[in-house]
């Protein structure tokens, strides 16, 4: 067992975890933050993307023990005072989701893109979302949603 201290969505937390606990496991099972989804569980699908120290990573392929002292933002940490983040608003407005399973990862990944690139082209958005897989939408509206968010942010 290991004791880890993290800041998750602005709140400091400390938990006892097994050495092999992944970040996605800690978030979902110990902290009840089930917005971070587990799809493939082998870092291909991107449903588990969160931000660690400001960068997007796949939380299913990071050990919680190795992130002691880090700052984590999950999909639950994007809205402020009950108001959706512009990226969440844009996904809603542009119908960037159908079943919604991949959406938390898509949104977290897209937010990271706009941090580095204010007005990405369609191709840049598609390249950036390489590691996020959606089985419903065919990606078209997801790209439209990211463009919409870029125009608002």
């Amino acid at each position: 067992m290991k004791k880890v201290a993290l800041e998750v969505n602005g709140k400091k937390i400390t938990r006892e975890i097994s050495d092999h606990t992944t970040l996605s496991g800690l978030l979902r099972d110990k902290l009840n933050l089930t917005g971070t989804h587990i799809g493939c569980d082998t870092s291909q699908c991107g449903a588990c993307v969160v931000h660690v120290d400001g960068k997007s990573i796949k939380s299913c392929t990071a050990l919680a023990a190795d992130l002691d002292g880090s700052k984590v933002t999950t999909i639950e940490g994007l809205a402020t005072n009950g108001k959706l983040h512009p990226m969440q608003e844009a996904f809603k407005k542009m119908h960037g989701l159908q079943c919604g399973f991949c959406t938390p990862g898509m949104v977290m990944s897209a937010v990271d893109l706009l941090k580095n690139k204010k007005n990405p082209s369609d191709q840049e958005i598609r390249d950036w979302l390489e590691g996020n897989i959606c089985r419903c939408t065919g990606y078209h509206n997801i790209v439209a949603a990211v463009k919409e968010a870029a125009s608002k942010m």
Partner: protein, 261 residues
């Protein structure tokens, strides 16, 4: 995933001391963690080397670029120094996996794993790399032994990889559309001392294609590649590409690389 004892080493000496035949060093974990989840690997001890500061960073001298073992792909891809000294190396890093993999995966992890379809091994071959460990310095040609096999000992830690800056170079690959691993990847580099053609994805281990290098030494143009015979014997054959197809792609991507030099 079977449980293990997680250790975070404070320096290379401690990491090496903790290592055994039943342990693995953990850098980005982009292969190690999924392999453990899938039951392809299990270890008693996982030794995290990410917090060892001296293992990360990029240094450019007059003739070489030295990259610390735990330097992430995203750091190599965005490094102004690498882009200036060896642009093809920064471009290679930018083409690995996806952004989240590049934010975690490391160069040392990539070459220690020696996946037959990984990108970085071809750079090590093409750019006459020297792999510096805590015990010795190893030429890339001797480092990569076979499929997922290197000459590293279980307690040996890669500290940095030193690449020679070529006169011109280019890496071109046919990526698997799902994983972005190379179905075939060809790294052509022209140095004052000679030409290397590092090929990944085609066989069970990265190699320097001497026939292509020899032809390019006589005439550095993509048209000369048409006359080189590439045998499909010993090439990988799987659901993504047959060995004959791969042999053809080695030619096609060698030509692309020469044209892009």
């Amino acid at each position: 995933m079977k449980t293990f004892n997680y250790h975070s080493a404070k320096d290379v000496k401690e990491a090496s001391k903790l290592a055994s035949s039943n342990s693995a060093f953990l850098a980005g974990g982009m292969t190690t963690i999924p392999s453990m989840k899938l039951g392809l690997a299990s270890y008693k001890d996982i030794i995290d080397i990410k917090r060892i500061k001296k293992l990360s960073g990029i240094k450019v001298s007059g003739k070489t670029v030295t990259i610390g073992a735990t330097t992430k792909h995203s750091e190599v891809a965005s490094s102004k120094d690498v882009k200036k000294a060896i642009p093809s190396l920064a471009a290679l890093a930018e083409g690995i996996g996806d952004p989240q993999v590049r934010n975690r995966g490391t160069i040392g992890g990539s070459i220690a794993n020696n996946d037959p379809a990984a990108d970085y091994p071809s750079a090590c071959i093409a750019l006459n790399a020297t792999i510096h460990t805590n015990n010795r310095s190893i030429d890339a040609e001797k480092f990569f032994r076979g499929m997922f096999e290197t000459c590293l000992k279980s307690t040996e830690v890669i500290e940095s990889i030193e690449f020679s800056i070529p006169q011109k170079s280019s890496y071109q690959k046919l990526p698997n559309p799902a994983s972005r691993y190379a179905i075939v990847g060809v790294y052509v580099a022209q140095h004052k001392t000679g030409i290397n053609v590092g090929v990944t994805g085609a066989k069970s281990c990265v190699y320097n294609d001497k026939d292509l290098a020899g032809a390019l030494t006589k005439n550095f143009s993509s048209s000369v590649i048409d006359s080189v015979k590439i045998s499909s014997s010993g090439m990988n054959s799987d659901i993504h590409a047959s060995s004959d197809y791969r042999a053809n792609m080695v030619k096609a991507f060698a030509k692309k690389a020469v044209d892009a030099c």
